[in-house]
Symmetry: D3
Subunit: 286 residues, 6 copies
């Protein structure tokens, strides 16, 4: 995302927090004080958001130097980013900056942990997030998933057709839904459909869905479904995604089914923020 | 917050998700289909965000009926909100709506759980959140804390003076920082200062801080500090807040110290989203 | 697109035109005058934008009644839409409204004309637009293409991978570009690549591109390329798009090659606006 | 227009196109690749928008060098503008940039062609555009008209009084409309009125309109009207504008009437975009 | 200005004031309380802004009834506007609403007072404001001037050419400045120039400026200048505006010179706000 | 307030004024002309807004040099700020810049005059503004008050509880209002209540309001109220603010009462703008 577009998004976050100004800072810190600060990790995890942090700091006139790259596994006390510049500016943006970094790093950490667990067990299954992001933060949440090794899935409601239960409840028939979509959709888009039973999944494959999402299937139901598709020579015709009830604890059972993609809402919706702090390391002028 | 101001914030969230339009819905659902839908809880917790959800739905032309009030303790399958209207609109906003409700309810649930634990143990200690919110979501995160029975703490950087470590690091002296702030701050604002030692806390009370935050103190350090303040007849001169390392597991040990306020970053930053779903319950016209 | 999101876009167009207010109207028309007006076609074509026009008028407090549906083939003097309400409002928005309708209808008319020509000649080839839209008007331009029977192609830079000449110029090798993209792209996205020679196209198919764009190929080059792909049993592995130098005059020669998709920049970039006018048909109160 | 204000407008265009980011570019191009690119004309015409293009490129961190000035008559393969900088940024903005340049150059080309035709035939008639611009693009469309040698006419609804048919239809009487406007309008504004007959035009001149627009008059009707005004010694009291049905084909017949201004909707509404391309000419770092 | 465009401007004012919400009101007033309130004048003056006030109140869901019209001369305790609806909403917007009404009414009052003084003395001189408005409030300030019987002068920098001292300082010669402007300006715009001496004014008239502004001329200098213009038969060729140092005290001396327009910065920049209050007159539900 | 956030606010002011561009300047001034300009005071007063002026100028590419600091007492002809750069940009922003500086300086001048009068008479009473600011200008108006030596009072509706007459009119009882607020308000906020009688004030102090506003009390009523509070040993429990009917003329009588804070709407609502001008002092390139 071009820097200017990103800067504007970050600016809005700061504006929300700052109201009519950081009164603490303007009451106590000289307006030309210059400091150097460092952002430190306070716990173990995968850092994400350093690129955004640098853009944010630089857009406000501070010089920055990343000490590690996004995606690095960090440990407590490890310095992540250095910033030098106006003390008032730095103190005013500290919380907004850390809130973004901590959230993105928390998401990357959880994603990475699940991906590594799956890879270590020898599975190539894709680990994807969903659209269950924090409102307004899709770009940042999805970027953090990427940094953690996950797949971003749909970015907007306009980049893939995904026919869900509620669509079928209205249209009345999944096969017809796929046909209607296929007739009018741009060639540039894939079509995915949610299946709630083995039979649904088979029909979806027969109707030439590009991707079939097995919604709330147990690992054994998934296996049965995959076998049914293989029997009908449909297994390679579509990607198979499983979603619902998957978490770090049971992910290997799901991966073991041979499904192509596992998607988890919790990596963007319920990841614990990674603890970090910003510390003034040098007062150059006060 | 007046409805129109809120509507605009919610609209921005939808715009981000929708891109050039929900292609699935416009390809498969007739543009004049009318449906009734219900939002259900899928797990136990405290619901928050129903007021925002209603404003959002109504601003997009749907009729709504809340089945429970914000702050209600809900159980799986309990209906929370009913919406009737254009099917395309409803399906297009479903995810944005649930993302907000799930986040707010998750925060309210965690806050409430901690507050109840403290009250049940007989303590009146205030449980406060911090400014560790998701970027752009301060209003919603803080409102959820209120619904869960917590205290919102500062809303912006302009509504209280809070002199932190990094400020003191630059100014060089906490007492002087308080004096500088007091001289120029509006009478309408309180002054809080972070203390990192018993001595700091005593000096802050002597300098007439309205609130003193004991940063990363253990329960026993807090007790010692409170005793020292009492000895000097300073205990009732300032509110005492403890922050850092407090969580649902150890909150009672902190409450037992007699401190006035406990603040926890995790209730806004790391609460698990409350699982919910929206289901079409009736197709009135398709 | 939900009505509110659309309303806001349309409002911005009006604001640009109106400055500090329509001085002619406020100087000459009573502020409570009520009128009925009709929008008429002044030439033959396919009308598009009536849905947007209605949303725009209604959002400003006018009642509307569409006389025909979007996509209808209209003739001179045919009434398209009726609006009743405050005269000042109606006169102030007239030009903004007609500018949108005329543009969208012009695009739909050109698209439809080409699509019909191709269908009449017996070809099923998809006629697609490109991202050559007017800046800021992608939603409207692409919707008009749909109404005219065309394919919208990519909506944003984030909904399909499309590796162009300039990408390959930097990476150095098309096959590697496809491989790099495939490794990291979400399963939800297709991958297209631009080919500038028969050899390029074959390599792209071998590298499993989902779509191959033959850039500036003549009809005979396209035919040769398709034959080469068939020989290698690669024809059915990818969709083939031709782009560059195609227009209403030569479109049948391109369609005759058997290519899957023909994309034309001119339908969004150089379509003649369809002439229309708004006329006050009744003064109800002045 | 100050650069910052312009930058913001251009940024919005890019944001619309980019969604959550240019996935092709971020998947295939190293984030620190540096390239030089040139924009070339692909057909003959008058270039316009190079100033805006430079501002756009520079605002995103690229260095630029215009090879020709706005208003230059360009030929195929002529380099127009050079840009050097981050490859990802450049590739992400390419289409938005070309869309603006092509549109503006198309408008300037058509305007210039008509103006030159009229001048070559020895007429000094002003060639003006109207408010028939693309929604949201008034600034750019009107600037392109200026570059092509045309007159911008009204910029907003607030910068001149222009009483049209629909106003008169409500007020009932053109003379009264002019009087009402004159009584209350600021001295800083001119008053123009649309006339639909010779009689109307004479009355408008008698009522001291500053400008009279002859709406849909044939050349011979215009001549008669001008003669009637001369007879009454009113010809020099007002500027006379003809509008409606004028195009490049018949413009000389209209100019020959001796009217002061000819206005044409098609130069902003139906000009063919000027074909251009951006090519990477050097990879400095990849 | 169409209601929606106005609503948006007013909304922004409220948002600035409201931060994360009116905590007083939400802590003390039930969320479904319904009240009736009246706005009263607290001093004598001309009321302005009631139309904007009604739009504002209605856009937030309140019902309103104007008791007097904009432009009415009001007295202390006179009710101006009644509003009925949600108590929280009403209390939250009270200050924003009164700030706008008081400002606009203050401007209208001062304008009206000067206009009446001039009319009473028998002069028809136009009393105009300038662009010396409060930043962001041009629309409201200028509308208030109109309600007070004044002339709005230029609305933007784009609706008239006004060549000032600083322009001439750079170009070097006023006559040339007028010529340059005349050559390229649209026929739809007037040209005004600032003159700082009698000689300047004469040259400007000879160069066919539409309006000549005598900058900081004393009444006697103005008279001399008008005589000089009459002698050269140039008086009726241009409107003459005097500006600088004119106020309510000396306005008649300036009007007596026979100048066409007197413009005063102070009516928009230094008018005393008209004191008003909003009072709850009935609690319908609490 | 971080520079970027401020820049954006200032930009909006310019955009409002500039419409589609400063036509005078673009028609008469070469686009690469470079000039030096100075802003001069034209009357005596306290200058405010130079920091904002510098940010504004620099954000548009001009170099600046402040000749005096905000808060300086200036005299006619004293240079305040120097700017060097593009002539077109400078002339286009001149009026917006001066409007802001003149308004802020006018407010600072009036505030300072009152504060000095009070201090000179030996009183330490705080002089505060209210929320009676120009809509949209709270930040600038309040900053000017600070520069003039005044207190900013509440910044938003969310930074202090201030229970006013209208709240009590709905709740029915002031003591209950304070109790309701105290129970639920964050510990970070103060509670103020408006009293309209001596009895009200005493009850408010008994109910532990942090601040009590004596609304429209005469100096003698204030004295009586303070004595009553002293008798009950409540004087030191709350800050006492007097508001209503206070102005520069009578401020000493109010200060003499011993009240803690005097708040005046007129310093932000009715201050006379300080006259200033911008002059081109050198043409470096034209």
């Amino acid at each position: 995302m071009p820097r200017k577009v990103l800067e504007e998004k970050l600016q809005k976050f700061l504006e929300e927090d700052i109201g009519q100004g950081d009164i603490t800072t303007s009451l106590t810190i000289p307006d030309n004080a210059i400091v150097a600060a460092e952002i430190f990790a306070k716990e173990k995890g995968i850092v994400a958001g350093l690129e955004e942090a640098s853009v944010f700091l630089e857009s406000l006139g501070l010089r920055t130097k990343a000490k590690v790259a996004d995606g690095t596994e960090v440990k407590p006390k490890m310095p992540l980013l250095e910033a030098v510049g106006n003390a008032r500016t730095l103190l005013s943006l500290e919380r907004t900056l850390l809130n973004l970094l901590s959230r993105m790093s928390g998401i990357a950490t959880m994603t990475s942990s699940i991906v590594k667990k799956v890879r270590k067990a020898g599975y190539g299954t894709r680990i994807a997030c969903t659209r269950k992001v924090a409102p307004g933060l899709a770009y940042f949440d999805k970027k953090a998933v990427t940094i953690g090794g996950g797949d971003v899935h749909r970015l907007h409601l306009d980049d893939m057709v995904l026919i869900k239960d509620n669509h079928v409840a209205i249209i009345g028939d999944a096969t017809q839904a796929i046909r209607k979509a296929r007739e009018n959709v741009s060639f540039s888009k894939k079509i995915e459909i949610e299946a709630t039973s083995l039979e649904d999944a088979v029909k979806a494959a027969e109707a030439q869905a590009d991707i079939i999402m097995l919604d709330n299937f147990s690992p054994s139901q998934i296996k049965k479904t995959l076998r049914a598709l293989e029997k009908k020579k449909l297994r390679s015709e579509a990607l198979i995604e499983a979603s619902g009830g998957i978490n770090e604890g049971n992910v290997l059972e799901f991966a073991a089914t041979g499904v192509d993609i596992l998607s988890l809402g919790e990596i963007t919706q319920s990841a614990k923020a990674l603890d970090m702090s910003l510390e003034i390391v040098k007062v150059m002028k006060s």
